[in-house]
């Protein structure tokens, strides 16, 4: 098995709302896959279907080689799940939570548990209800990592957390990245960029793209063309050019299929002589915004 998560035309409909439409995902084993998208894009719905918390309207999903609708206790022994809106047993102390969960997992590692408690600086004798939001997330994550899960699923784990806690969580996760596949949903792209190996962009229930982060960053460029005189905008620019704009003698656009030679040749073919051409690499956040903008404008 080389695929940790695979979905085929997965769809979910809530009355008149299509929360997910023909979602085709492929998360390789060992990947750190970030499913990004604006609020309401369908990320949580997709994760709930993957975790068998919710049934799909159509299509199918496989998680660790098992149909997601058949995920039961045995499969959950090797899956860790943490969600921003998960209801924890708040009456328990952190140590009671860990002690309670220990017998559920045959692979629970007491040493790893101790390491995680130290790493996250968890107060063992305090009740969860008295912990800050960040501490609760760390406690939930520690309790989901201590048994060496093959798959770690995180639904918006960084929402509302201060930067220090986010760093701690990310480090905690990255320490496990070698032995697990990590599937994380977020709209916080700054953090995702620092550790994701793959990224999928979900919008209005549809997957806009899904690929390795390195190739994504490689194919997106901010392009700035400087002319001697204001040039006319092409009537039919290439499909990979986004947000074409002009200002005096400068044309700017975003190239979503950047290749140094090909893109340069394409520019020359359309505009002829250009005084100056600048290709600037883009952050994941900029790519995300560039992708989100046309969809919102059309909506």
């Amino acid at each position: 098995m080389t695929t940790a998560i695979q979905t085929d035309n997965l769809a979910k409909r809530f009355r008149r709302v299509n929360a997910l439409q023909s979602l085709n995902l492929n998360v390789p084993q060992g990947a750190v896959y970030a499913l990004v998208g604006p609020n309401g894009a369908g990320k949580t719905t997709a994760i709930k279907i993957l975790m068998n918390i919710m049934r799909a309207t159509s299509g199918r999903a496989q998680v660790l080689g098992i149909d997601s609708s058949r995920i039961k206790a045995r499969q959950l022994e090797s899956i860790g799940y943490v969600s921003e809106n998960q209801e924890l047993p708040e009456w328990m102390t952190t140590s009671a939570l860990l002690a309670y969960l220990r017998p559920f997992y045959p692979t629970w590692d007491r040493n790893l548990e101790s390491d995680l408690v130290k790493q996250f600086d968890l107060p063992l004798d305090r009740k969860l209800k008295h912990l800050s939001r960040g501490m609760k997330m760390k406690a939930a994550l520690a309790s989901s990592l201590a048994y060496h899960p093959k798959l770690i699923v995180l639904d918006e784990p960084f929402t509302g957390l201060d930067p220090l806690v986010r760093d701690e969580l990310i480090h905690g996760l990255l320490d496990r990245a070698e032995e697990s596949t990590i599937f994380v949903s977020s709209h916080d792209l700054g953090e995702i960029e620092s550790f994701a190996s793959h990224v999928g962009y979900l919008e209005a229930g549809q997957l806009r793209f899904s690929e390795e982060l390195s190739s994504l960053v490689e194919r997106f460029r901010e392009v700035e063309l400087t002319f001697d005189a204001p040039p006319p905008l092409p009537a039919q620019p290439p499909g990979s050019w986004m947000h074409l704009s002009t200002s005096a003698a400068v044309i700017r656009f975003i190239e979503s299929a950047f290749h140094p030679e090909q893109t340069t040749a394409q520019i020359r073919a359309i505009f002829g002589e250009v005084r100056d051409v600048t290709f600037s690499p883009m952050s994941l956040r900029s790519i995300f915004l560039a992708m989100a903008k046309p969809a919102r404008e059309s909506a």
Binding site: A73, Q86, A96
Partner: protein
Amino acid sequence: MNQIWNIFRKDVRHHRPEIAVSLALTVAFAWVEVREWDHQGMMAFGGGAFLYQLLSELIVPLLPASWMLLIVRAVHGESLVGDRQFWVTRPYDWKNLLAAKTLFVLAFVNLPLFIMDAFLLAKAGFRPSAYLSGLLWMQLLWILMLLIPTAALAAVTAGIGQMLLALFLVVLYMIAMSASSGAVPNSGFSSDVAPVYFLLVIGMALAVIFLQYSSRKATVSRWMIAGLAPVFALIMIFAPYRTLIAREFPISSNGQLPLHVAMLPSRAPAPEYAVNMGNSIPLRLPLSLSGLPSDSFVELKGVILTLTNSQGARWDSGWQGRDMLLFPSEKTANIEVRLGQEDFEHMKSSPVNIRLLLAFTLLRDKNQRQFVVPNGGFAFPDLGLCSVQTNSWSHLVPRNLVCRLPLRRPSFLLITTQTAQSTCPLPKNQTPPVSGETVWEFFHNDSEPADPGISPVKILGLSLSNTNPSGRSDPGICPGTPLTLSNPEEAGKNRLEVQLDNVSLADYQQSSAPLTTESH
């Protein structure tokens, strides 16, 4: 097993306050119960009598309420409604989760109840080991009638607020059903439909619990529970009561029921004595009785009155339940049936034909023996441990027996005596009883092997009476009073039809006149 134990221990830790309250209420119940047997409650407290009275009144509903709370809290500990609970994505095996919750209920509801019941039996003078099956039966009744339905409601609610709302709706529905059942003809008499309701509730509750624990389909489960409401209403309205009753009480043919019943003529009461109960008029139908063998008696279970007048109008009372014993010594009996004022006025305008159907259970006396009430506490055959109650505060009230019964009232027990044989001293100015007048108490109980209830010790005040309006109903039971005991057995169930044509309905209107002025 490891998982079951782990969840169970977690629940015990989490619900310690509720467990403590429930156990405290169990102890309080046992304490109050024992004091009530000896009528020590009020005396023991003096100034705190009010508090004791409050406790003894509240403890009966509070104890089951505490069990319900325990179940609800345990089920909601791993709520089955919603998808945000942490446990949903943990490797819980639903069978283990259900088993852990069951273990919790058995440990903190059933076991304390069982121990308390055994203690109460021993305290009342009965050996608990001799009543093991009855004690287990009582547990089963609680499980079926309260614990499982409560667990089903808890399984489809997310919190205490939702649970209280669900309970409120259930109570509201039961009140509405109870209120509307009076409007459904025949439904009050036939008991054949009750097991159908019971089985539906238990079946649905078990199905909901299974469905929720196995797949958490809360919406489907809620609809399943809500679906019971119209089903019950439809059963109540459309159940073939008459057919069921006719099957249970076939028409007596070839003397199956050795009883001859005829309707006696009556005379209209004077206007000032004619009873009018708001919008309904009570009719009193006098019957003559004969033919009942000396070793038999009958229990009148139900009646149906049909009136037709010469103008073709018809009125039917539908089957109405009755609970009247008729012995061979009784030659007459009165049946009371009410009809609306408007129907009465309409029907009495011309001569009517009266048709009365009577449903009887024939009982044949068996195992007759004599028993003389001894002094002090004593074992009463087939009943329990009894003593003569002394009414030191009133000489006017005849003395009677107070008995402690293990688990249940007797199946079939008839206790009779002659009023003249009572050894109780006569209050001043009271005329001695007429010789030959019989008083009785009859026990007929189908609850095998135990009556439902919290306590296994049933307290029974035994006083004898008869249905003769001119008789002295309760001569009292005192040490030395000879009693005749027997264990009647059911010898058949039949209907008898009695008809009287061309009579004036007004003649049968109930009169409030004293017996001496009733006839004009």
